[in-house]
Symmetry: C2
């Protein structure tokens, strides 16, 4: 997908960003790589290395200006650009996601909800109407929606993904416990909570005193 920055580094950037915002909210104007690393459990060398992919903003002897580094990361991650999204599969998880305060802050706006259950189509959830999934590809296409979120049962997930891709999304966030594959060059983030659950299970039993 990108060669700008190694994937492990990319995954840490949002954490730096998150902590910088927290620091700014506490009135902290400068942080150095050791402080930033400490709250995240990351060595300071790695913090500097990661940040070097993004910008060279640090002041030797001083550290990083929290506001300006946060801005740099924000722009690098594309958070200020509004990005519309559709969500397919209206259940409990969908409900939690829609009400999740994070989305707005990260520029992601869930505009349309879809389901295939006639009992749900036409109803509302959190003020958003639920549409027939058969209309999804068309709406994605017409409205140029770049993000698809899948919270259907796993049996439906791949087909729903195909429909989203057909409509023209650029990325998919899949919560169904299955690895969804993209035909075209679409970014797919498979977020299977049962995988984490299994690791939690293993770790609970191996947490050696």
């Amino acid at each position: 997908m990108n060669q700008i920055i190694p994937t492990p580094s990319l995954k840490r950037l949002p954490m730096y960003y998150r902590e910088l915002i927290r620091a700014i909210d506490s009135g902290i104007r400068y942080m150095n790589s050791s402080q930033l690393g400490k709250v995240l459990g990351i060595p300071s060398t790695q913090v500097r290395k990661d940040l070097s992919y993004v910008a060279d903003q640090g002041r030797p002897g001083v550290g990083y200006n929290t506001r300006s580094l946060a801005d740099t990361l924000e722009n690098f991650l594309g958070l200020p650009q509004p990005k519309n999204a559709v969500l397919a599969g209206v259940g409990n998880l969908a409900n939690a996601l829609i009400l999740f305060p994070g989305f707005r802050h990260y520029g992601i706006h869930i505009l349309y909800l879809f389901d295939n259950d006639p009992g749900k189509i036409g109803q509302e959830l959190a003020g958003r109407p639920i549409y027939d999934i058969h209309d999804m590809a068309e709406i994605i296409h017409e409205q140029h929606i770049p993000i698809g979120i899948i919270s259907t049962p796993s049996a439906a997930a791949q087909q729903v993904a195909d429909t989203m891709i057909e409509g023209g999304v650029k990325s998919i966030w899949n919560f169904a416990p299955i690895t969804v594959h993209a035909t075209r060059n679409v970014f797919v983030l498979n977020q299977d909570l049962t995988v984490e659950m299994a690791i939690l299970s293993f770790s609970t039993l191996h947490s050696d005193e």
Copy 2:
């Protein structure tokens, strides 16, 4: 935490398990490393390497018996052992988690819910009473609960984690957007969805046609 198996391999085991269960449900009795790798987007060499940490069950020329490999993985991950859990912070996410069908299958049972909101304490959610968070450490201790799930706002998360650790949990699954640290030797899984959101944002804007 463990030297039995490298962390990246450990994280793939639940996916193999998941696909094996799916295969079994479809009546498939054998799968080889290429087939298993294909559905997950993983090279067959890596599949074999990963599985070699767990057992040597494959039959050259044939592949893996789905039932027996699934059993091996299940036991390795500790899924059959019942593991009780408490959850702190009763909001929308908590609601989705409690109703998530996956937990039971992975042997995790959310027994007690806690909150600090007097308006919620004494109420019920999905048939479970909501207790005062001030009683959490004591209940964890008395009932020997090994897992703590955090779905509080981030400002409360570290303190809630400390209380869980004080009570004696062995592992913590934290959904608050903050990196929680463990004092003792407790496994902490920080599941910050805003991190994924930021990566989704970046990837959406960099999905090069």
